[in-house]
């Protein structure tokens, strides 16, 4: 019975999810028929452009370059945000010093960072810097909150058993922080792709953004849509194939059904 009960919502989610995506594709095709290929290319044109880019060997190198820019920027932002946020959560003066800085950084639009980064660094590092500075404050806020809500009683219990620092990190602080950091890291990862593509487009430093810029220069709407499809596909694949699975695994203890009887 459990399997059936668990299967129904999954089937319903799949059904309505497919319905939603199908509706979006229908609207796309309708828009194409109403406004023509120059404004919105048809689904067949987009697929043809996608296949052409694939045959020309453009997709994978561009994807790898964008993944490098987004991944490295996200990694730097995540590490800096986690360390600074952790310290801010544990020490009030650090929090009082860094929180206004984080608010200021969050308030600066990503596009402004791109312009500054192009002047300061140029090329691929401009993209990496922009991603790091756009995602870091998001992780910082989550890490601060996570560290502030650490359970003092659990830490005291662990100290009473003479737990070594490594085990404290792995068994007490780590799992608690993951609960707070994971949603922020996932949001920052999705954001890193979008910011990286935007920065690549403006900086001409390769990647999918460069492909988009070239398609725009040729007024090739079908190719533009093909690149957009690549970006969205990667985001969906990372979200469904990696992030959700990791989250399910990390939060198994929270989601388990049924509690004790007494």
């Amino acid at each position: 019975m459990t399997g059936l009960a668990g299967g129904k919502p999954r089937f319903s989610g799949l059904f309505f999810g497919t319905l939603g995506v199908g509706g979006l594709l229908l609207l796309w095709e309708l828009g194409h028929r109403l406004y023509g290929s120059l404004v919105l290319p048809g689904l067949d044109d987009t697929v043809a452009a996608l296949l052409r880019l694939h045959r020309q060997g453009q997709i994978w190198p561009a994807l790898a370059q964008t993944a490098w820019h987004a991944g490295l920027g996200w990694g730097i932002g995540a590490i800096a945000g986690s360390v600074c946020g952790g310290l801010a959560g544990l020490h009030r003066p650090v929090r009082q010093a860094l929180q206004p800085v984080s608010v200021i950084l969050l308030g600066i639009p990503a596009i402004a960072w791109i312009v500054l980064a192009l002047l300061w660094f140029g090329g691929g590092w401009a993209v990496i810097f922009t991603v790091a500075v756009a995602t870091g404050p998001i992780v910082f806020a989550a890490a601060t909150q996570g560290a502030r809500s650490l359970d003092g009683e659990l830490a005291q219990m662990a100290r009473a058993f003479g737990t070594p620092p490594g085990a404290m990190l792995r068994d007490v602080y780590g799992p608690h922080m993951v609960g707070h950091l994971f949603p922020a890291l996932a949001t920052a990862l999705a954001m890193s792709w979008k910011v990286a593509v935007m920065a690549e487009l403006l900086s001409g430093s390769g990647g999918i953004g460069d492909g988009l810029a070239a398609a725009r220069a040729r007024v090739d709407t079908a190719e533009t849509m093909a690149w957009i499809t690549v970006v969205v596909s990667v985001l969906v694949a990372v979200d469904q194939g990696l992030l959700r699975r990791l989250q399910c695994r990390a939060e198994l203890w929270r989601d388990t059904e049924g509690t004790g009887a007494g």
């Binding site: 009683e153 058993f161 608690h176 203890w253």
Partner: protein, 244 residues
């Protein structure tokens, strides 16, 4: 003060502790011999839990001296304080993280400790929120005993349990103390439980906590529940400002 045998496991001399310049515990002097059970009672806020935290090394004394010669100390709290993201088995094995033994060995010892507390193997892989309150407290007791400590510090460990389960867990504790010749400092509010535990009883006064009354251990070590002993203990608690 009790016992004049050599090598006590715990000695406190003029022990005091202040929090935010307010004395919580003052001039506590006592010794605990190996294999001895000390039951600490007193009104709320008299520093009983603070005394345990000082012995457990979680706090540093403000005054006086404290000498603990145990090879291994383990603590159990009123709430189970289990790691919510670890299974029952992993929670028990957690107590051995500081030991130089393999993960397999830690888990094997944790299995034995849980089995000794009558927890079914089907419950070993459950997370704390899947366990009942009584099961959680049994896991906490297993975690306390798995490292075979020679000094146990128990802060009202059975207060939240129903009578039957509390009795069973006391029996497990007694058995352990007898088998391992271990010592224990046990905080309780319940005079009957204090006598059932069969050790020496000290009653702390209102804050700042001082030793206001001391009762020798049950000579038969059987948990003498005589009306005379119970009446004396209850009177001492009322004198100290507590409720019975």
């Amino acid at each position: 003060m009790s016992g004049d045998g050599a090598d006590p496991i715990l000695t406190a001399d003029g022990l005091g502790f202040d929090r935010a310049a307010r004395p919580i515990l003052d001039a506590v002097s006592l010794r605990l011999d190996r294999g001895e059970v000390l039951v600490v009672m007193g009104p709320s806020g008299c520093g009983k839990s603070t005394f345990l935290a000082l012995v457990g090394g979680l706090l540093q004394p403000s005054r006086g001296s404290l000498c603990c010669r145990s090879a291994r100390t383990a603590m159990m709290f009123q709430e189970p304080r289990l790691l919510p993201w670890r299974t029952a088995l992993d929670n028990v094995a957690f107590a051995l993280k500081g030991d130089d033994v393999s993960a397999q060995s830690r888990l094997a010892r944790a299995r034995d400790a849980l089995s000794a507390l009558s927890l079914g193997t089907e419950d070993f892989g459950k997370y704390p929120r899947q366990l009942s309150g009584g099961m959680r407290q049994r896991v906490a007791l297993a975690r306390t005993l798995v490292g075979r400590p020679d000094l146990l510090l128990l802060d009202e460990p059975f207060a939240a349990l129903d009578t039957g389960l509390a009795r069973d867990m006391r029996a497990v504790l007694h058995d352990y103390l007898r088998r391992e010749l271990a010592s224990a400092v046990i905080v309780t509010h319940d005079p009957r439980e204090a006598l059932e535990l069969g050790g020496r009883v000290v009653v702390f006064s209102k804050a700042p906590g001082r030793i206001a009354f001391e009762m020798a251990p049950d000579p038969a070590a059987l948990g003498d529940m005589s009306v005379e002993r119970l009446n004396r203990l209850e009177a001492a608690l009322i004198d100290a400002g507590g409720q019975v």
